[in-house]
Every structure is written in structure tokens, then in C-alpha cells.
């Protein structure tokens, strides 16, 4: 058996404030039926004033550390597209708020695929750089970048975070990360973007530069690319680790949209019962989506020791990624309980 990074803790956290479809229908031209039919989403969580992405990351990270029975790690990685600030990275603040000042900490940016990228980097720090433990967090607060008048994006996205703790181990153990697939296609950059606010915007020669500060997504090509690429990436990892879809107990994929998940399952010849869904309660939480779903599945008893699990995501960039593991025996707290709640202000 070869050396491997092993998942030894998991946790998820969503902010306490819920926005239902009915709430959105009060201010936008939409309805519960319209949103549920097109997305499968019933409600989503959003941060309150005073919270930021680090708030979610700290709470999810704390739960993952508790699940692992650890109070220290050798590195903290935060995957996010909505950092607290464009500079510095969010991870050092998160590490300090977790009582881990001095620990290596950095962000990874790959939008909705970010957690898969961060997980791969964390695994590499263990297997290639000799670190003992790494906390990998996916966290996003898309409510802060959505156009308040856009019914489609406001219906889809919510705020949330999830995290896992990795430790050094071997490939035969439950929890071992057995294989990854990562990829990108920058020619699709415009399909999922926040055009304004970056260096391209700041150096623009037009006055004023016509670059939206809000998140935009071109739904039709994104749907098409997401279904095809999620399935292709999943197939790649399954082949790499010697599994077939018949071996899979649970696909924990990016909670983009129920129609994408169903189409992806169909393409993989996977029964819908093998596809975990929590977007009905949390919406699409971007980089938080996969680890939040993983922790949620474990907390709800949908994952048991030894289960063959495939993680898969597709997102802005364009980027995509997948990973395979056998689930370990873990105690994972429910993602919706609001305790502990640490805001940026109260924990700084």
C-alpha cells in the first residue's frame, strides 16, 4: 500500500438566516414553483451583516477539527471565490481565528471546483512535502456578489462552507484519497464571471469601464458544459482507481442545479438514489458546495464507513475536478446547528 492523504474529520456550516423562494418572490418576478421546477432549490442561507467568508470558513473548519479530534494542523487551505478581501488571502485570518497562528495558510481560487483543487493541493502537501495534517476548507458568500435584481442568480446561490481534515496515512485505509482529476478551459472565462473589480477593470482604458461588479452566468452553455465535463471527469477518476459506477455508493457532486445533477447521473448510468442532494435546503454554495454536501451527507447518515465516494465539481474558469475515496468512520455534526457562531468581529 502506498502513502496517501486520509480524510480524518469533516464539518459543514451555514449561516442561520434562511431566504425561502417565497421571500425572493416578494421582491422579484419569480415564484416558488418557478424556482423549484428550474433548479430544485427550495431555500438558501445567507450571511448577516458583520459576517464574511472567513466566518463560514472558521465555523466549518472548527467542526472539521472537532470531528477529527484535533486542535492543530500543519497547513490551512481555503478555497474561495469570495475572499474577505482581494488582498490578503482569507486563509491566514481563518487559521488565526482557529488558534493556529504560525501555521502555513493560503487560498486556492477555482470557483465551484475550488475545494477539489484545494483537496488535491492538501493531499500533495502530505504525500509530497511530508506534512502530517492539513485542514482544507471550501467557503463562499455569493450573496455578496449577486445582482439584487437578478432573479436567476439570486434563486440559485446561497452561502455556506465545508471542511475536511487530512492526515498522513496509506491507500488501504478508509478515508484515503485514491485519485484525482483536475482540468480547466480558460476560453470559457466569460461564461461564469464577476467582470469588474479586478486588475483588468482597474487598468481599463474606457471611462467608465463597462464591467459589472456582479456575478453573471450564461446558463445554457454552462449547463451543457457542466453535464458533459462532470461526467467525463468522474469517468476519468473512476478509471484511474479501477472502479465503475456500479461500485459507487454515493456521488457527492457540486450542488449546481438539480437538473444538472440528474442529467449527470443519467450520463454516468448512476441511479438518482446514489446522487446526494442538499441544494433543496442550501442552494448552490459555490466553493462551499462539495465539502458542505459531504459533511451534510455524513451527518445525516447517508455515508457509512467503507462507502465508495466520488466527489466531482465544475465551475468558473472554466474548471473541473473529481476525487475518489472510501469513507471513514467519522462523527460529523449537523451543518445547520448555529452553535458555535463566530463572527469576524467577535473572534478577531
Amino acid at each position: 500500500m502506498s502513502q496517501a492523504a486520509v480524510v480524518c474529520g469533516a464539518g459543514g456550516w451555514v449561516p442561520p438566516t434562511t431566504v425561502t423562494n417565497e421571500d425572493l418572490a416578494h421582491g422579484l418576478d419569480t415564484s416558488d414553483e418557478w424556482i423549484r421546477t428550474r433548479t430544485g432549490i427550495g431555500e438558501r442561507r445567507v450571511i448577516d451583516p458583520g459576517m464574511a467568508t472567513s466566518t463560514l470558513a472558521v465555523n466549518a473548519g472548527r467542526r472539521a477539527l472537532d470531528s477529527a479530534g484535533r486542535d492543530a494542523v500543519d497547513a490551512v487551505i481555503v478555497a474561495t471565490a469570495t475572499p474577505d478581501r482581494s488582498c490578503p488571502a482569507t486563509a491566514p485570518l481563518v487559521a488565526s481565528q482557529l488558534g493556529l497562528s504560525g501555521t502555513a495558510a493560503f487560498d486556492v481560487s477555482a470557483v465551484c471546483s475550488g475545494f477539489l483543487y484545494a483537496l488535491s493541493v492538501g493531499a500533495g502537501l502530505i504525500t509530497g512535502n511530508g506534512l502530517g495534517t492539513v485542514l482544507v476548507i471550501g467557503a463562499d458568500t455569493f450573496s455578496t456578489i449577486l445582482d439584487p435584481h437578478c432573479r436567476s442568480t439570486r434563486a440559485i446561490f446561497g452561502d455556506g462552507a465545508g471542511a475536511v481534515v487530512l492526515r498522513a496515512g496509506h491507500s488501504g485505509e478508509p478515508g484515503a484519497l485514491l485519485g484525482f482529476d483536475l482540468g480547466s478551459d480558460g476560453t470559457g472565462m466569460e461564461l461564469i464571471t464577476v467582470a469588474g473589480g479586478g486588475s483588468e477593470h482597474r487598468s481599463a482604458t474606457t471611462d467608465p469601464p463597462a464591467m459589472s461588479p456582479y456575478f453573471t452566468m450564461d446558463g445554457k452553455p454552462v449547463f451543457s458544459r457542466a453535464v458533459r465535463q462532470l461526467a467525463a471527469s468522474a469517468d476519468t477518476v473512476l478509471s484511474a482507481v479501477g472502479w465503475t459506477t456500479a461500485d459507487l455508493d454515493l456521488l457527492v457532486a457540486h450542488q449546481a442545479n438539480l437538473r444538472i445533477l440528474r442529467a449527470c447521473a443519467d450520463r454516468l448510468n448512476l441511479p438518482e438514489s446514489s446522487v446526494f442532494v442538499d441544494l433543496d435546503r442550501f442552494g448552490n454554495t459555490a466553493g462551499g458546495s462539495v465539502p458542505l454536501a459531504l459533511a451534510d451527507a455524513a451527518a445525516r447518515g447517508d455515508l457509512t464507513e467503507g462507502d465508495h465516494v466520488l466527489l466531482s465539481a465544475f465551475g468558473g474558469g472554466l474548471t473541473w475536478g473529481s476525487a475518489a475515496l472510501r469513507w471513514p468512520a467519522l462523527d460529523v455534526e449537523a451543518c445547520t446547528s448555529s452553535d458555535p457562531l463566530r463572527t469576524v468581529a467577535s473572534s478577531a
Binding site: 449547463f223 451543457s224 442529467a263 443519467d266
Partner: protein
């Protein structure tokens, strides 16, 4: 109706929740009130079912099930 057209009616009915008779009557996808994402969903279903490649813009809102059958036949699917 050909066997392929019947299969397409069943697939559209099952996957897009539209009335099978309305499809069989020759209504276009636009007349069936399918949105652009639903057309893409149907493209994905067709790719899975018939093991062919179909570009997103090959099936348009003005297509009927007969048009889809013709397209698939050009890709080697038996009628």
C-alpha cells in the same frame, strides 16, 4: 410514425414532462413551452440514449420530433 420517432416521443415525455400526444402531433419545442435549458437537457438525453454526439445548437426551438429523428438518422441512428 417510425420506431425512432416513437422512442423520441417517449424520451421527451419522460425527461421533459411534456405531453406525449402533443409531441406526436408535430408541435415544435417552442410550442411545447420548452426553455433553452430543457432543450440542452434533451440533447444530453439523446447523446446518452443513442451514443452519438449532438452539438447544443443542432436542435433548435423550431424543431419537431420528426426533425430530431432526421438529425439522428444523419448520425447513423436507425429509423
Amino acid at each position: 410514425m417510425t420506431k425512432l420517432q416513437n422512442t423520441l416521443c417517449e424520451l421527451a415525455s419522460t425527461n421533459l414532462q411534456v405531453d406525449q400526444e402533443a409531441i406526436a402531433e408535430g408541435r415544435t419545442f417552442e410550442q411545447l413551452d420548452l426553455d433553452s435549458l430543457e432543450l440542452i437537457e434533451f440533447v444530453v438525453v439523446l447523446e446518452n440514449q443513442f451514443a452519438v454526439k449532438v452539438a447544443d445548437d443542432e436542435i433548435t426551438p423550431d424543431f419537431t420530433v420528426t426533425d430530431v429523428a432526421k438529425l439522428l438518422e444523419t448520425k447513423g441512428v436507425a429509423s
